[in-house]
């Protein structure tokens, strides 16, 4: 057979799919790390089933990991896969849609036996590998299970253990396909199994078997090379969104010298923030897994009252429970960061899927006039700066702050240029000073030029004072039922939040001219897809610009001016239209929504298509 061709590619998307038990996430993670270390730009998107271990072999049990890597800058995990790796029939069934026309399928044929076909609910006698389903794709079948077992037949390990390493075969094979070295993964295996040397050996053996299989099997005509990306010089690491959020919070606490206190309750997809934070006790981080979300936030408020940096994390249904306490934090005027890793709703909804439908809940989900700043992260690494910035605003403006991320970026990962602690922006913390008896009375609600009241913590001499949820006097903070005072307080709480606009950057364009036919106005995790789409449209010569809003409340001061310079404003959101309502209301522009509510992120082409429709 012919020689193996070596094709150079700018970017490649691989989608690994298999049973929850197949080690798909680990495989994807390893390939990601290796690609990153080689200097590719990367973007990943894991996709979990809702069940812990849904019955093996079924569509419900399929776990996926999509990885986009390239020698060019990337902002999404890829619209469609170039290569789809499937460990069983169910994985093929549920992921074939995501494969590019003409793409490569690598199928573990052991996963297409009668039993697996039945579990995947193919009709009797039908096998997608040979019934024409895959016409137009390049199929490569391997009996991964068999080869793995053969590789390890001398190892003395049980079948169960042996079978568990079959993901290494796939990984080795893909390393071969994409001209990668094995050392990073070998190092990883050595560390992971340091206490079980027999597993180091066996896994490396299978990894190599996969690699050599590429060399010897003659079925694959091409290998591919993806050169290092031409990205800014510097030191990089790979980071997941939830991890970035956790690190951002810790960084803010370290930078300010405040102890971090996180009061929370587990919920998908936010739990990992707790898991990360709870590891860093030596940073003075205290995490409390409370009895419920209400206790979590109330504990965080209690800690903030005591002078800690109070944090609470959750997802939609848990945030719903916090509404009353958020109102209290609002009237207490105390620092607090509320992280909502959004997921599909309403109600329990789609716990493992992504969505942006909790913006209104953040803005309005409690009784009375209770304005709260809202910041949204735009990508896995941006979770760091968004979290850090949320802390800054909470502390400097004495207010609860909402940080919105979502399942997509929380579990996704991308390279992140390592930042030095000294390069982090300053955050000003000032506790109220002790007071002697002869000093004038302490006024806990007297405001500074930012309309911010003092943070007076227990243990400070002479500042004993009481705060509560009843309306309070404008300066003393004592309970006040006075009608004029109430209106004044409602207005000043609003003014305090509005004033933050003076302390955040003006809205910049991400791409395009500062006037034109279409402005794509996005927020949150749609960033990558919209950015990529804008690039395509501009390259096509369209007069399209892109602005991405990070500060959802208060809005950047120049935003109204900015949006009015375009003929049309298109607002992609993974919800039924929320931020668009704010823009329409505030600026009276007839913005057009582009809404996707499928528990999945936008793909670039959906955005390109919409813009072209509007332009037509």
């Amino acid at each position: 057979m012919g020689q193996i061709e070596n094709q150079i590619k700018d970017e490649v998307t691989i989608l690994f799919a298999g049973d929850s038990g197949d080690g798909i996430q680990l495989t994807g993670g390893q390939f990601t790390d290796t690609a990153a270390l080689l200097g590719n730009d990367i973007s990943t998107f894991p996709n979990f089933p809702a069940e812990i271990r849904a019955p093996q072999g079924t569509v419900a049990g399929v776990s996926g990991f999509q990885l986009h890597f390239g020698s060019v800058e990337l902002f999404t995990p890829g619209d469609h896969a170039d290569v789809l790796v499937v460990m069983n029939a169910a994985a093929l069934k549920s992921n074939l849609d995501s494969l590019k026309k003409g793409g490569i399928v690598i199928a573990n044929i052991a996963g297409f036996d009668k039993k697996n076909l039945r579990l995947a609910k193919y009709e009797d006698g039908v096998n997608p590998l040979n019934d024409g389903t895959l016409d137009g794709y390049k199929i490569h079948e391997v009996d991964v299970t068999k080869i793995t077992r053969e590789t390890l037949k001398e190892s003395g390990l049980g079948t169960k253990v042996v079978d568990r390493s079959k993901n290494m075969f796939v990984l080795g094979f893909l390393y071969w396909m994409y001209n990668r070295k094995l050392d990073n993964t070998i190092r990883f295996l050595e560390k992971k199994f340091s206490k079980k040397p027999e597993l180091i050996e066996s896994n490396i053996a299978v990894l190599k078997a996969g690699y050599y299989y590429g060399d010897t099997a003659e079925a694959i005509a091409s290998r591919f090379e993806v050169k290092p990306a031409n990205i800014k010089a510097g030191t990089y690491r790979n980071i997941m969104g939830n991890e970035a959020t956790a690190i951002g919070l810790i960084a803010a606490s370290q930078k300010t010298g405040l102890n971090l206190f996180c009061g929370t309750y587990p919920i998908t997809p936010a739990s990992d923030i707790l898991h990360f934070l709870s590891k860093y006790k030596n940073f003075g981080v205290k995490t409390v897994q409370a009895e419920d979300e209400i206790a979590g936030i109330c504990a965080a408020i209690g800690a903030s009252f005591g002078g800690a940096l109070g944090i609470t994390t959750s997802s939609g249904p848990g945030i719903a429970l916090k509404g009353e306490a958020i109102g209290l934090a609002n009237i207490y005027e105390i620092p607090l960061v509320i992280v909502n890793v959004q997921r599909g709703g309403p109600s329990t909804g789609l716990p493992t899927k992504t969505e942006q439908a909790d913006l209104f809940q953040a803005l309005y989900g409690r009784n009375g006039e209770s304005p709260i700043p809202v910041i949204a992260a735009q990508s896995p690494k941006d979770c760091f700066s968004a979290a850090y910035e949320a802390c800054r605003i909470a502390i400097e403006h004495m207010t609860p702050v909402f940080l919105l991320t979502d399942g997509y970026i929380a579990n996704g990962s991308e390279p992140w240029e390592v930042i030095k602690s000294e390069d982090l922006p300053d955050i000003e913390v000032k506790f109220a000073e002790p007071r002697e008896e002869e000093d004038p009375a302490f006024l806990p609600y007297k405001r500074n030029e930012k309309f911010v009241r003092p943070w007076a913590i227990p243990g400070t001499k002479g500042l004993a004072h009481r705060i509560g949820g009843l309306e309070k006097d404008f300066e003393t903070g004592n309970v006040s039922y006075d009608p004029e005072n109430h209106e004044r307080m409602v207005k000043v709480r609003q003014a305090k939040v509005d004033k933050i606009a003076d302390y955040i950057p003006e809205q910049a364009l991400d791409a395009g001219e500062d006037a034109g036919d279409v402005l794509l106005l996005s927020w949150g995790s749609t960033y990558g897809a919209v950015k990529t789409a804008t690039k395509i449209l501009i390259d096509e010569g369209k007069k399209v610009s892109h602005a991405h809003v990070k500060y959802l409340n208060p809005l950047p001061k120049n935003l109204g001016e900015l949006v009015k310079k375009y003929d049309k404003v298109i607002m992609p959101e993974m919800n039924n239209g929320q931020f668009i309502k704010i823009i329409r209301e505030k600026f009276l522009v007839d913005a057009i929504g582009l809404n996707k509510i499928k528990g999945l992120p936008f793909v670039t082409e959906e955005i390109v298509k919409k813009v072209n429709e509007v332009l037509a």
Binding site: G39, Y280, K281, F283, A295, K420, A464, G468, G469, L470
Partner: protein, 341 residues
């Protein structure tokens, strides 16, 4: 050299400048007075003391103390306490709650506080009614109670707060009453000394919506026969002349005449005995019923168990010892980096 004597601190020093706004005659006044006076007796530092409450008449309490304070939201007091104490274990924290606040909406936080054993003094003002919302029944109201929300009598079997607390792993369980300040003071002091959650139930008269709920226990004419004051190491005797005693017949408590039994057969109260304390919390008869057991007042149970926030702090400290002081740059860098030139 003569010692410079500090001005002696008095109860008044703990009173804030706010007008106390409970109804005239409310039992809350007496509790406020005792707490302020105990604060003075123990010379608690005002700047290091925090009173935290939920919502209810009783929960207005922090406004009247010249210490730090949080009047929070209904039923959630224990969570604020847990957060504050975990962040600042050195503070002296008191929690004020009502029977609605702690037994109804806040029941879960209440039992979790007890099991975690956060070091806080919990004063549960039990008036068997919702005062602030003007008179609905509460989870401690007796069955059949006619209130605004139960015009034909309530149907729910009430909680026995101390029994619930025993089931929820409480380490200090006591009861006292608004109308017996002499009894209340030492209980408050013992509670303050206890390391862990000190639960002190205080029978409190709401003279507007549930006047007289505890009169059988608090009023002179009936008090002696309906109450028993329990003290560690002392026999369970009661009655105007101490003429009655409680003994156990198997596991069943019985009232006997003191003259009828030998001293050796007396039940000596042991606050460290969980089983006996549990039996005592079950002395919960309606005093108007024939043969009712007297209602106990005093410290039922005490246990020495590790305190939640100390555990948290110890873990932090141990971790620092093991891993060394935090280095933010290392954290930012993570375990794996690569460099692009």
């Amino acid at each position: 050299m003569p010692e410079v004597k500090e001005k002696k601190i008095t109860a008044k020093d703990y009173a804030s400048d706010q007008d106390v706004k409970w109804c005239p005659g409310c039992g809350d006044y007496s509790i406020l007075k005792q707490v302020q006076s105990v604060c003075a007796e123990l010379a608690l530092k005002k700047d290091e003391t925090v009173f935290i409450s939920g919502i209810g008449c009783s929960s207005r309490f922090p406004y009247y103390m010249d210490t730090y304070g949080m009047h929070s939201i209904h039923g959630r007091g224990p969570a604020f306490v847990m957060g504050l104490k975990t962040a600042r274990p050195e503070l002296n924290v008191w929690m004020i709650t009502g029977d609605g606040d702690s037994m109804s909406i806040g029941g879960n936080h209440f039992i979790h506080l007890l099991r975690r054993n956060v070091d806080v003094n919990v004063l549960l003002f039990n008036n068997q009614i919702y005062g602030l919302t003007k008179g609905q029944y509460s989870p401690t109201s007796e069955k059949g109670k006619v209130t605004k929300s139960t015009p034909y009598g309530s149907i729910d079997h009430p909680f026995n707060p101390l029994s619930l607390a025993m089931g929820a792993e409480a380490t200090f369980v006591a009861r006292t009453m608004d109308r017996d300040p002499k009894h209340m003071r030492p209980i408050l002091i013992e509670g303050e000394k206890h390391r862990g959650t000190s639960l002190i139930e205080i029978y409190q008269n709401c003279n507007i919506f549930n006047d007289g709920a505890f009169f059988p226990f608090t009023e002179k004419a009936t008090k002696a026969d309906n109450t028993i004051f329990i003290e560690h190491g002392k026999a369970l005797v009661f009655g105007a002349e101490g003429e009655k005693a409680i003994v156990l017949d198997g596991f069943t408590p019985k009232v006997v005449s003191i003259s009828d039994i030998a001293e050796a057969d007396l039940w000596i109260h042991d606050k460290y005995d969980r089983v006996k304390a549990s039996i005592l919390t079950r002395f919960f008869d309606d005093p108007r019923e024939e043969g009712a057991l007297p209602r106990p007042f005093g410290i039922f149970y005490q246990e020495n168990r590790s305190v939640y926030e100390e555990g948290v702090t110890a873990q932090v400290e141990r971790h620092i010892e093991e891993k060394g002081s935090p280095n933010l740059d290392t954290l930012l860098e993570g375990p794996n980096t690569w460099t692009i030139k």
